[in-house]
Subunit: 223 residues, 2 copies
């Protein structure tokens, strides 16, 4: 397959979806790939270590930028005083940091512009967009236009979301084909090692591996 | 005059334009006003102190959120290794942090959403938009749409830029009428006290006061 896509910055969270996107980009993207992770005061800081390990394994440069979302608060992902909702509870609304993906995508675009690039890859998946409006393609279409208007110099900006119409199960299927080292990825909202296996994120992850008939290489706490 | 405008978050830099906007909002806005400043690793950190003093004087709550733009770099405003261009040099392009206003406006929107508000005020002025594409209204129009699509819940977002079509000279004229305490504001790119009087920002400020026939209450270093 011919690689034709331009170089880009990938938002690498350390989770399964962006890890899969990184391995997919290694196959598809001809230009340089730079991975960016955001240190936003997340409780599950092990994600940042995972992102560094994944970038190292993939052989791409990795950068961490700080963002003090904990100061804005309102989310149990950053506020240690709030409980993380279990999978059965009313979904993920309570885990939203307002405009988190807009901030992350814009930081990635800023880093891309500094590098002379004009493309950003993100890995929202179809499972996300029932609860998260900023995981939907119309949002990213609009942001592409905003970036084009706000960039230092006139020019087209591209936000690639290759998995936005795929379920997590399909993304894991692709990742297994690509040889993504899922043992290096992190998912648990509780930030635990071994993973809690109980939170919404763990439940989704386990379901995605089960649907592919493959055991999850991660360790989980006994139920 | 009847106040009808909804409560909002104001991006308060500590400079003249946003200070004027704060005093203008005290006259025009009926709902609560919250001031937000971004600690982005600026060399001129005295700005953040000025913002706190201005908010205190205006009697509005003030919050500072951290953003590690220095990690992205590329600008003498955050990189101590780069020289600040003098006023005569080729304008302000070299002082741009990519997508800085997009990041700041989005942080303000995130804080607004946390507060239950859906409006942000910013104070770009006409002088800015020759060099800064993200000081122009089409950019903010586009961002309003992006915010509406990315917010946690569906709804209209408003980005107010009341001075976008006014020259700095006109903004200072309004501020003098409103009694803005300009002695509490900061402008100098070099971050000096007394101000350097030489950099592009000082030059613009001095010209704005001169055009209004009023002495600038700030202290300047001898030329």
């Amino acid at each position: 397959m011919e690689k034709t896509k331009e170089g880009a910055v990938l938002l690498l969270s350390g989770g399964m979806d962006s890890a899969t996107c990184l391995w997919w980009m290694r196959r598809e993207v001809a230009g340089p790939i730079h991975a960016l992770s955001i240190d936003y005061g997340q409780r599950h800081r092990v994600e940042l270590e995972c992102a560094a390990h994944l970038a190292g394994r993939a052989g791409v440069p990795h950068k961490v930028v700080g963002l003090d979302l904990a100061a804005i608060g309102g989310s149990p992902l950053t506020d240690a005083g709030l409980a993380v909702p279990a999978a059965r509870e009313d979904r993920q609304l309570a885990t939203v940091v307002p405009f988190r993906n807009l901030l992350f995508a814009t930081l990635a675009a800023a880093w891309a512009e500094t590098l002379g690039l004009a493309a950003v890859y993100l890995a929202p998946v179809k499972d996300d967009y029932r609860s998260y409006r900023d995981c939907r393609r119309p949002f990213y279409d609009s942001l592409e236009g905003t970036l084009g208007l706000g960039a230092t110099r006139e020019g087209r900006w591209t936000l690639h979301t290759p998995f936005v119409d795929q379920w997590k199960t399909e993304v894991v299927k692709l990742g297994l084909e690509l040889g993504v080292p899922y043992e290096l990825t992190h998912t648990c909202y509780e930030g635990k090692r071994p993973a809690c296996g109980q939170c919404d994120a763990c439940a989704e992850r386990l379901a995605a591996f089960a649907a592919n008939g493959v055991p999850d290489p991660l360790a989980y706490a006994a139920a």
